[in-house]
């Protein structure tokens, strides 16, 4: 499985409990909270989606298989918006 990496051209900023970013493709600003913000920050190119799911499950204290499909869907959405790529 490939590691996931944020598109370096995307402007984003960490806020207290969310991540703000600008999506050029949709010309809109977006806020990611909780799990979304955490996934985003984990996509630094050093982890693949399985490892990201494990990290998130530890951070939010939930079983990995409970969140697996949601996190995968979310990652796919980010890829489609050109916000992430598989390194």
């Amino acid at each position: 499985m490939n590691n996931l990496q944020r598109n370096p051209k995307i402007r984003w900023r960490r806020e207290v409990d969310e991540v703000c970013l600008y999506i050029p493709k949709n010309r809109e600003m977006k806020k990611l909270n909780n799990v979304g913000a955490s996934v985003w920050e984990l996509c630094d190119g050093s982890l693949d989606s399985k490892e990201i799911i494990e990290e998130v499950s530890k951070e939010f204290d939930v079983e990995a298989n409970e969140i697996k499909s949601d996190v995968e869907d979310f990652i796919n959405q980010l890829i489609q918006l050109d916000l992430l790529k598989e390194a």
Binding site: R11, W12, R13, R14, E15, V16, C20, Y22, R27, M29
Partner: protein
């Protein structure tokens, strides 16, 4: 980079509205910025320092307006500087001074150009804009920019005169290649306040605009100003955005000009410091708590309590409040 304003505002503004000048080639009847009252302009080095700082704190973009931003001879330079500091550039213009050279110099450097079109005929457009012969210049600018792949947003300030012709204005925007149409609510501020312009009933108009948005959904993106809705939480002024006027004074919203509401000046204080620490900003962010509009005996359409600038400009209950 973490901020802590207890959920009141972001660590940094997402968008900064910057009036690069107060000069203008028009004197519109509704103009909130009361253009042409003052020839002073923020020096280029101050603008450069501001953009550099905004890049550092993580602001996404600036919207350059005025006055008429193209009245500034160094406007291309300003746009280049914003690009240099990784800021998305929006430009708000009446279009009259747009020409091929401007296009050549700013291609790929502006993410959105908003052009004002307030009527479907020269007579209607020029009535509010107070000058004959400019309708064709405006249409030309929309077409020229669109033909050259700029993202053009056509914006109309809705008045009792144009409210029945919005669909016709949208058609004109479409014909000339605009990608977005924006319905802007008239805010009683500046010349609009001085000339006592009437505000259209927003409950009726928001429904009508929704219908148009649906009707044209396949052809053009229609944005409806949040102020058309009766919901305070929609207003992002001071929470996600901030406005700086041509003198460097910081207001939570561009529609305010009363010096009473100045939150600081960027030539005297760091913009991030103002954003995080201005006492006035903190209070205005919580205006909903200071006022109890729902129970107020004056509450009617003219208050438009969903727009904080309208409130601050018009609410008599705030006259005695010491910001």
């Amino acid at each position: 980079m973490k901020g802590d304003l207890s959920g009141q505002a972001l660590y940094a503004p997402n968008t900064v509205y910057l009036e690069v000048t107060n000069k203008c080639n028009l004197k519109c009847k509704h103009c909130y910025s009361m253009a042409n009252e003052d020839g002073y302009e923020l020096p280029l080095n101050e603008i450069k320092a501001l953009f550099k700082r905004l890049d550092e704190i993580g602001t996404f973009g600036v919207v350059l307006g005025g006055g008429e931003p193209l009245m500034r001879e160094d406007i291309v330079h300003i746009i280049n500087l914003a690009n240099k500091y990784n800021l998305l550039v929006g430009l708000s213009t009446n279009g009259i001074l747009v020409n091929k050279e401007f296009l050549k110099n700013t291609r790929d450097k502006i993410s959105n150009i908003q052009i004002s079109l307030d009527g479907h005929t020269d007579e209607e457009h020029e009535r509010l804009r107070n000058k004959k012969g400019i309708f064709k210049d405006t249409l030309q600018a929309i077409k020229l920019l669109s033909d050259n792949n700029f993202h053009v947003t056509v914006s109309t300030v809705i008045t009792n005169d144009n409210v029945n012709y919005i669909d016709k204005i949208i058609e004109i925007a479409l014909e000339n290649g605009a990608k977005t149409y924006r319905a802007t609510k008239l805010i009683k501020s500046g010349n609009a306040l001085k000339n006592n312009l009437d505000i259209v009933d927003f409950k009726f108009i928001s429904k009508y605009l929704e219908e148009l948005k649906e009707k044209y959904s396949k052809e053009i993106d229609i944005e409806i100003d949040s102020e058309f809705y009766d919901n305070k939480s929609f207003c992002t002024a001071g929470k996600e955005t901030i406005a700086i006027n041509y003198k460097g004074d910081v207001y939570f919203c561009a529609f305010l000009s009363n010096p009473k509401f100045i939150c600081g000046n960027i030539m005297e204080k760091d913009i991030h410091n103002i954003w995080l620490n201005s006492r006035k900003l903190k209070e205005i962010r919580q205006l909903d708590k200071i006022l109890n509009c729902k129970e107020c005996e004056n509450n009617n359409n003219n208050c438009f309590s969903n727009c904080k600038a309208m409130l601050l400009n018009n609410c008599s209950k705030l006259d005695s409040y010491d910001f």
